[in-house]
């Protein structure tokens, strides 16, 4: 029998799970996330291996879901300096790079930025040719101080050749350069894609540490497999070499793993999942086994980006959520006692009413000191739970795609503190092992590849255009470590472009397949 290890590093907990090749949970553990992160991962792996009693040589794959990259951006720590080059010729000078960034993070990252010759029109024709000497001059200017580059280009999602050529030129003159190009990172909308590309380069050393730390933790625990993966935010995996190139894709992989884990544990392929934590709950939708992706821009640490992200609504409801009453109205959150639940909540002898106290009062859960619950009025508790129910129902409405009632799958450590019935769902499913849904999500992830770009159906027939796009998606998936024969198309999306004379659509195709071992 072969086994997989899945590890999920969250803000509070590091969870690990061992799962057999026929997808049975063999062992699980929950430890605190350590400040250096790596020792926490190492501890979780050692605990889960010990309790599983398996032979570490039988571990075929190891997967890590991590919030390290998200945290680096939010906390403005460990980020690299970046030289930004935008290929745009005469266009785009009205908004320079970093125009919409918070200044504290700009000053940490911006080494220098340039708008130089280059760029395409919407139909892929040339807006302006690139000027090689211009690029070489920039590289020479920075060769002693900075080797990190982010390249963006007008309409790069339509044609990536200029960005690729500029990457070659930089590497010819600076062998150690680390370069991200925007066509490999994000979709249409120059500023957001450029921002994501800059962040991707800025995260290059963070991801190096995560990868080497995970490898080290595995070898410390005598896990010898070379099949080591990181989780992406679409519920699929990337091998470590790919992860080193695209660290930005790990952002928001945590909620994605919980969603995927919840779906797996309930044996569903479609549904709405609620992941209840200590401070917030995330709610998302699974379509054909994968989280639905958002189509609008999203913010990371105050920077707007447009690389794909799961479409998730976060609400301020969790075990530590503070409950107040003002003018006869119950106020649920958004403040939370967070990790101080065990000292501040009423049931733990504190003086702050939390959702955990209310849940215990109503008999949803039983932990802490129930004798303290006399302080809470039963009617107040009932009204609070009504309010929580209403807020969760509103969030369910926000992520639903139609008026059909479905199942709500509830996972996460905080799931014991919320109501068990909602007017807009048929039933609530709460599977076994739901407390480690995120680590399970990491261990069962698949491999994907995508195509995204503008296609003119007037220039080539729709079926041929889609076929060509599929080829690109397949190639990307195989590069990321998928078995070619197992690949299947899970998503084809077409958005028509307004005012376009040639029947152009923004086409997006995603394929998913099994891991090569």
């Amino acid at each position: 029998m072969k086994y997989r290890i899945g590890v999920d590093v969250g803000g509070t907990n590091t969870d690990a799970v061992i799962i057999s090749e026929n997808n049975k949970v063999i062992a699980k553990t929950k430890t605190f996330t350590s400040s250096d992160v790596i020792s926490g991962i190492s501890k979780a792996i050692s605990e889960v291996i010990a309790s599983s009693k398996i032979n570490t040589d039988d571990v075929s794959h190891a997967m890590l879901g991590t919030t390290q990259c998200t945290n680096a951006i939010v906390e403005r720590k460990k980020l690299e300096k970046v030289v930004t080059i935008r290929l745009a010729g005469p266009a785009t000078h009205a908004i320079a790079p970093y125009c919409d960034w918070p200044s504290d993070v700009e000053s940490k990252i911006n080494e220098s930025s340039y708008i130089v010759d280059g760029g395409y029109e919407y139909d892929g024709s040339i807006l302006c040719e690139i000027n090689e000497t211009e690029i070489i001059d920039i590289v020479k200017k920075h060769q002693d101080t900075c080797h990190n580059y982010a390249i963006s280009c007008v309409f790069a999602p339509v044609d990536s050749q200029q960005e690729e050529r500029v990457r070659e030129i930089i590497l010819e003159h600076d062998k150690q350069a680390i370069i991200s190009i925007s066509s490999e990172i994000g979709t249409l909308s120059l500023l957001e894609r450029e921002n994501a590309t800059i962040l991707n380069t800025a995260l290059s050393s963070v991801i190096k540490n995560v990868v080497s730390g995970f490898k080290q933790s595995l070898s410390n625990n005598k896990v010898t497999t070379n099949a080591i993966y990181l989780c992406q935010n679409d519920g699929t995996l990337m091998d470590v070499d790919y992860a080193l190139k695209y660290p930005v894709l790990t952002i928001a992989s945590g909620p994605t793993n919980s969603i995927r884990g919840g779906i797996f544990l309930t044996d569903q392929s479609n549904g709405i999942i609620l992941d209840v934590g200590g401070t917030t709950s995330d709610i998302g939708v699974v379509v054909n086994g994968f989280p639905r992706e958002t189509t609008i821009e999203s913010e990371v640490g105050g920077i707007s980006t447009n690389f794909r992200m799961p479409d998730i609504v976060s609400i301020a409801i969790g075990g530590g959520t503070i409950i107040k009453e003002m003018n006869n109205e119950i106020i649920v959150g958004p403040e939370s006692v967070g990790y101080e639940l065990s000292s501040k909540a009423i049931i733990f002898g504190g003086d702050t009413i939390t959702l955990s106290d209310i849940a215990n009062k109503l008999g949803y859960a039983s932990f802490g000191d129930s004798s303290k619950l006399d302080k809470i009025d039963l009617d107040f508790a009932k009204r609070t739970m009504q309010q929580v129910k209403k807020q969760i129902e509103e969030a369910i409405d926000l992520v639903r795609v139609n008026n059909e009632k479905g199942e709500l799958i509830v996972v996460g450590g905080g799931s014991i503190v919320i109501p068990q019935e909602y007017d807009n769902v048929n039933s609530v499913l709460k599977p076994e092992n739901q407390d480690i849904a995120n680590a399970i999500g990491a261990s069962i992830a698949k491999i994907s590849g995508t195509f995204e770009g503008l296609v003119s159906f007037a220039k080539q027939p729709r079926d041929i255009a889609i076929e060509k796009a599929k080829e690109v998606a397949y190639e990307n998936a195989i590069q990321a470590g998928a078995i070619a024969q197992s690949l299947e198309v899970v998503e084809i999306e077409e958005y028509p472009i307004a005012y376009h004379p040639e029947d152009a659509v923004k086409l997006r195709i995603k394929v998913v397949g099994e891991l090569a071992s």
Binding site: V154, L190, A498
Partner: protein, 355 residues
């Protein structure tokens, strides 16, 4: 005279997006362009029409084209100088003040960029008081003030003068040029003196945008304040339960169905780039050219048509259009029949909307 600085901008862009009635482009690009221009060249003067000298000449700058192209191919910022210089030369005119053509996320901000770059004052007036999809849908048309010639250019700074006799030809030529420019164009038109401006201008529109934006951002009860202080009508609150979108003849068309939170009432909005007609429980309650604006229920921030979603909680408010649009010639241009509806215009205040 008021100084337009970054703070003023941040409120004005929100109000402009409200008055854009679902269209008028994504406010973000416009805001960032204006922000960079003011950072670089300093705050600009906002003046009223009354502050103009009789001999002063005022003209518009605006953008035409696909909002999705502008998100990728952002303007250079110097196009304004090019179109204005070309107009001065061709029309043998001068330019003393700039005014916006319409209210909307992008076209309210573009004149601010031009005014900052060229160090000209911005005029607190426009010629729609909202956003409309076509070139000839401006108040000049009501008073037979020609909007020709129009100068267009893009980032390559090749100005092209378009001077057709019929408004519809004007629209067609400009749209064709815009496509040749790669999908978006900067333009300048309607250079007029103070007397002519006084015939058609919709005044205080930028101040109105600022006031609406500031109310939304700073008031505890934005909708109540908009109703009491700025004449808004609060039409409906509810949840989007159906969303139908089609793409016909170069326009985004659609229908939005909204249910009240207690599910006892329903509301429908029909749109073509902008929100055009609204029905409550089957009865028409507001129609073009009055303004129908969709706001987020929680934040009361304006929502443009492209980002409407199933399940979204929204508030619908309305404003009276400018009185000029209610003249016969105005309604001929932008009344419900001009958009293919088989009924005559009824002002919003006569349709039973809650004030």
């Amino acid at each position: 005279m008021i100084k337009i600085d970054e703070q003023f901008l941040s409120y004005a862009v929100i109000g402009a997006a409200v008055l854009g009635t679902g269209g008028g482009g994504d406010p973000k690009i416009g805001y960032l362009m204006a922000k960079q221009a003011i950072e670089k060249y300093g705050p600009i003067d906002l003046i009223s029409v009354d502050e103009l000298k009789d001999t002063d000449i005022s003209g518009t700058v605006s953008m035409m084209g696909a909002p999705s192209v502008t998100l990728e191919k952002i303007p250079n910022g110097a196009e304004f100088g090019t179109v204005i210089d070309a107009m001065k030369k061709y029309g043998n005119t001068k330019l003393d003040a700039i005014y916006p053509i319409e209210a909307g996320g992008l076209n309210s901000m573009i004149p601010i960029v031009a005014a900052a770059t060229l160090r000209l004052p911005l005029l607190d007036a426009d010629c729609m008081g909202r956003a409309f999809p076509e070139l000839q849908m401006i108040t000049q048309s009501i008073f037979d003030v020609p909007n020709t010639p129009i100068v267009l250019c893009h980032e390559k700074m090749d100005p092209i003068i378009v001077n057709a006799k019929k408004p519809k030809d004007m629209e067609n030529y400009c749209r064709a040029l815009t496509m040749a420019f790669g999908g978006s164009a900067m333009m300048s038109e309607c250079y007029v003196d103070k007397e002519t401006l006084n015939k058609f201008a919709i005044k205080n529109i930028i101040t109105k945008s600022y006031n609406i934006g500031k109310t939304i951002k700073t008031s505890d009860n934005p909708i109540d304040d908009l109703v009491n202080e700025y004449g808004a009508f609060h039409l409906f609150d509810g949840k989007i339960t159906d969303l139908l979108r089609t793409y016909e003849g170069g326009f985004n068309k659609g229908r939005i169905l909204i249910n009240s939170f207690d599910e006892k009432n329903n509301f429908e909005i029909y749109l073509q780039n902008e929100n055009l007609v609204a029905f409550k429980n089957g009865d028409v309650i507001a129609m073009v050219p009055d303004l129908i604006c969709i706001l987020d229920f929680q934040t009361k921030m304006p929502i443009t048509t492209e980002v409407l979603k199933f399940g979204q909680r929204i508030s619908v408010i309305a404003f009276k259009c400018d009185e000029k649009w209610r003249l016969d010639k105005g309604l001929e241009l932008v009344g419900p029949r001009a958009f293919g509806y088989d009924f005559d215009y009824t002002p919003i205040e006569d349709l039973g909307g809650k004030k």
